[in-house]
Symmetry: C2
Subunit: 183 residues, 2 copies
């Protein structure tokens, strides 16, 4: 009955958990996410506890974390008192939300710091030229990436999909981007 009972589903959940750890997300959190992603119905926390063998407290904080990313939401089930949870199943949506949140948590503060350092270095005669230049370049680079993301993120999903499928061929359509002659 439970998703976890199917060996392939289980393999997916375990792998997803490991993936998480490699990207700085803790194993329990990503396992919970995988389980909800595979499930066709919203699950109460107790079911998650049972299927993944985690402590209730862990599941609670894990769910909160996932809701913080906006990829899991709490739903009310008719006639049920307990909260139930479902995962976002639109993968584009899932990805953009994760990226948006990580940007907010990690990139934005970094850009802020780099801005500060750049500003201070600009009027600091004692600073070695390379240090100033390299930090400034890093600041510009990350800012540019961030701005690009904010813009692309706003595009309608079908456009994103088209762009993605185009792959490297986008270059053809861009005036002044050179011929698409390269390998």
């Amino acid at each position: 009955m439970s998703v976890i009972d199917h060996p392939d589903a289980k393999a997916f959940i375990l792998h997803w958990g490991e993936m998480g750890t490699q990207w700085g997300v803790n194993r329990s959190v990503s396992q919970i996410h995988a389980l909800l992603y595979l499930s066709d119905r919203a699950l109460p926390a107790d079911d998650i506890v049972e299927q993944l063998g985690l402590a209730r407290s862990n599941v609670s904080t894990g769910l909160k974390e996932l809701q913080g990313y906006g990829i899991v939401r709490r739903v009310h089930i008719e006639g049920e008192r307990r909260d139930h949870f479902t995962a976002e199943t639109d993968l584009w949506e899932m990805l953009t939300r994760i990226v948006a949140e990580r940007k907010r948590r990690e990139i934005d503060p970094t850009v802020a710091l780099l801005a500060e350092l750049s500003a201070r270095l600009a009027k600091d005669d004692s600073a070695p030229r390379h240090v100033r230049e390299r930090i400034t370049r890093m600041h510009e680079f990350i800012s540019t990436l961030g701005n690009w993301y904010e813009q692309v993120r706003g595009l309608p999903k079908p456009t994103l999909v088209t762009l993605m499928k185009l792959g490297g061929k986008v270059a053809r359509f861009i005036p002044g981007a050179g011929k698409p002659s390269q390998k």
Copy 2:
């Protein structure tokens, strides 16, 4: 004299180290990278040990890791016996190499697993439909992203920069991608 002596350089290195930990890279490794990035000359391992206060063994493995990513390389200094190391200073190059390597290490194996699971599920009548469908969709999604990356990665750098600066406006140039009328 040493880069680390400048407070802003030091702040950068420390922050970079923390950033690393959030993305699954260990602190020492990213600190070494930051130090080399800021340095205008190649450094021998001993200097890194001294400036960052790490053990020799750590620096050795850290440098190996960074070379594995292709963002640090060993250079020979005229008249010196010791190996010296420099970091990639072209940030585009740095980013694409990091992404390429993480894809190779983490995404590719994931896609391989998903392919296997999808294949098996396709002929497994006992598998719940949702599980089959969701795993297949995930497989397709990640494959598409991977293929997109491989293509974009091959574009010449100036083209990439142009595309990046265009931001969301790329959509305008794509026939059949809809009007760029959305927010």
